[in-house]
């Protein structure tokens, strides 16, 4: 976490409306979203977003509909222009770029996967996949080999000459991902990429993404409204509400210490045993007698299964071959009960 962030957003504001710059001052003085709409007829999209996205990590931006998450991701490649703020990618302020420079960044640094797939219906799967290269003017033979390589990687070989409309939703999104991978960019923007898919296919696609990520180490910005999905994928989780960041950080940390009733509500519905990992509930190594060794990355569900429900057991926590801590089953069971916001009373929220 010490390295320079790949993408960083600084004081980003977006207000929808004709006089956005004028009403920005009101927002900065603390006017709420509802008041802004009632008094000025402008919609507050994003307010004071500060997020750092590290290279090689999956940053998940989560929020309910209307929380501004799709607006946020479209700022990264300036499909939407911010009202104020800086968008810095590889140390370069995207806001300062000319039209050509912006196109260069869109072609060479960022690729995007869309909720509704957004494939070209009149082109075949392989042509769709090769599209980012065609845009850059890469020779056709090379386009074709690259496209076929990635189609094979996402499990679509044999469908190269089909048209998108002939494929199921899950397969179309695989084309969408293959297209983004063919672009061979460091940054991948995924806008609710799996939200339109049914649950089983969604799990498949999440696994595919994690598998690809293990291999490719891209900087992925993933938008979702599904907390389970967010917790599964995220290295860094950003939770948005009404266009503002409520809490951000490591997902396990957010789960263990929600800082806001809004997040507690979110967190209370999920299967904590499956999401929480040993790392989050372990204690420093003190004891010497253990019922066995567990890995630091195991989830609690697997431990409960292993202990057979016996809460008196203690386990030694291993990170690879080194013991790093110990785990008491009693603590584990306590961790399964959703915690109240630690700062709730202090903030009087």
């Amino acid at each position: 976490m010490t390295q320079e962030p790949k993408v960083s957003l600084r004081g980003l504001y977006k207000i929808f409306g004709a006089r956005d710059r004028e009403v920005l001052t009101h927002v900065k003085e603390g006017m709420s979203k509802d008041d802004l709409l009632a008094e000025h007829g402008h919609v507050l999209g994003l307010q004071d977003i500060n997020v750092d996205m590290q290279a090689g990590e999956i940053t998940v931006v989560m929020g309910l509909s209307g929380s501004g998450k799709s607006t946020l991701i479209r700022h990264l490649n300036r499909l939407i222009e911010p009202t104020a703020g800086e968008i810095i990618i590889d140390g370069e302020d995207v806001m300062q770029l000319s039209e050509t420079g912006l196109r260069g960044i869109r072609q060479g640094k960022m690729s995007m996967v869309f909720q509704k797939f957004a494939l070209l219906p009149h082109r075949t799967v392989v042509q769709n996949t090769a599209m980012p290269l065609a845009v850059r003017g890469v020779p056709e033979a090379e386009q074709d080999t690259e496209a076929r390589k990635w189609l094979d990687r996402v499990g679509l070989s044999g469908f190269e000459n089909h048209f998108p409309a002939q494929l199921s939703g899950g397969m179309q999104q695989r084309v969408g991902i293959a297209r983004a991978l063919t672009a061979n960019t460091d940054i991948m923007l995924m806008d609710e990429a799996f939200s339109a898919l049914d649950p089983l296919i969604r799990t498949d696609m999440q696994n595919l993404l994690l598998e690809l990520q293990d291999e490719l180490h891209k900087t992925i910005v993933f938008i979702t409204h599904d907390l389970d999905e967010a917790l599964k994928l995220a290295d860094h989780l950003v939770i948005l509400k009404d266009g503002a960041v409520v809490q951000q950080g490591e997902p396990q940390g957010i789960l263990m210490n929600p800082c806001d009733p809004y997040i507690e509500d979110f967190v209370s519905d999920i299967n904590r045993a499956r999401v929480l990992r040993v790392k989050s509930v372990m204690e420093p190594l003190k004891g010497t007698k253990f019922a066995g060794d567990v890995d630091i990355g195991d989830n609690l569900e697997s431990l409960i299964a292993r202990s057979g429900g016996d809460t008196t057991l203690d386990y030694r926590v291993m990170d690879g071959d080194t013991p790093v801590g110990e785990l008491h089953m009693r603590e584990l069971v306590k961790a399964l009960v959703p915690r109240l916001s630690s700062t709730q009373d202090a903030e009087g929220a």
């Binding site: 960022m110 070209l120 009149h122």
Partner: protein
């Protein structure tokens, strides 16, 4: 005297009224009344029209001065208009004459198979192709082959020019809301203006012996649907796909040729189909201003009360219309099916 005399007196305009103006009779009824010495028994409360006002106040112009003014204005502008329009429309005359000559010069035993082949190539449908062959043979059989070919050649040229001009205009319209707002009333006007009205100013501008006269009339009438549907088609392209094109850094040109036009193609084709149908409708009316073809026979049927001639030519037009419609529609569905596979 006139009903509105009192009005001008109370307004104190009597003096201005007397200043000038003619006291010439305004209608045959007036003239008769003047000669017989009787007052015309007017309405109790006439509408304050120019004529009625002018009766009370000769300084006010009469309605016939309005139409005369339009005519004079047009005639005054004619030399300038002509010197500008003549050169740029001249190629149209050449194209039309050339097409007419070519269609006439190619012998039927080459032309018929060629047309049948074109029909097959465009529609890829055996049924449509057989129908086309049958219809052309039928027209030839009743000795209407030559006139049908004249009509067809005019339609080919006019549709071609309409598409060549209409598609770019439609694209420009879809890109600019302001252009769209200003062009839509013009298109509405072109579409609603009675077809005969097109001919009147054109007759003044060009000589009736020039082919461009009817060419322009047909193109003005037929170009509208292709413009409208190109504009509509591009505006209807899925915004998600456009967003994807933007996100991958396409230039405007790449977007237009790679995304917008292909996706708008079904709509554009529908526009071309309409354009073909409308040029056929207009080419019949344009026979009034010396456009050759089946329309001339229809006109002859009306003028000379030759019922049979008119009806056979009319059926010939219907056959041509059905041929053109079926072939272009079949081409449209083919494009829809092979490229979208819905």
């Amino acid at each position: 005297m006139a009903f509105y005399d009192g009005l001008f007196e109370t307004l104190g305009l009597s003096e201005w009224c007397e200043g000038e103006g003619s006291s010439a009779p305004m209608s045959m009824a007036d003239l008769l009344a003047q000669n017989s010495g009787d007052e015309v028994a007017g309405e109790a409360f006439p509408f304050p029209s120019l004529d009625n006002l002018s009766e009370a106040c000769p300084a006010i112009i009469q309605s016939r001065d309005v139409t005369k003014g339009i005519e004079d204005g047009f005639l005054a502008a004619k030399p300038a208009l002509k010197s500008f329009l003549d050169p740029i429309t001249q190629p149209l005359s050449w194209l039309l004459d050339g097409a007419l000559w070519t269609f006439a010069a190619i012998p039927w035993f080459v032309m018929v198979p060629l047309l049948v082949f074109i029909a097959y190539w465009a529609s890829r449908s055996i049924g449509v192709t057989i129908f086309v062959a049958f219809s052309i043979m039928l027209l030839g059989f009743v000795d209407h082959y030559d006139v049908a070919m004249q009509t067809l050649s005019i339609i080919f040229v006019c549709t071609g020019i309409s598409v060549a001009l209409g598609v770019p205009i439609g694209i420009a319209m879809s890109k600019s809301d302001r252009l769209q707002k200003s062009l839509v009333p013009v298109l509405d006007l072109l579409q609603t203006l009675p077809t005969f009205v097109y001919l009147i100013p054109l007759i003044f501008l060009f000589s009736v012996t020039e082919s461009k006269l009817y060419g322009i009339a047909i193109i003005l009438y037929a170009i509208v649907p292709v413009i409208r549907l190109t504009d509509l088609g591009i505006r209807l392209v899925d915004q998600d796909v456009i967003e994807a094109a933007n996100a991958f850094g396409m230039t405007s040109r790449q977007k237009l040729t790679g995304v917008e036009l292909p996706l708008a193609l079904p709509n554009i084709m529908a526009g071309i189909n309409q354009t073909i149908m409308m040029s056929l409708a207009m080419v019949v009316i344009a026979s009034l201003v010396s456009a050759p073809g089946l329309g001339v026979n229809v006109l002859r049927g009306i003028r000379n009360l030759e019922l049979g001639v008119g009806i056979v030519a009319g059926i010939g037009i219907v056959l041509l219309a059905v041929i053109l419609d079926r072939v272009s529609k079949a081409a449209l569905t083919r494009v829809d099916n092979t490229r979208m596979k819905h």
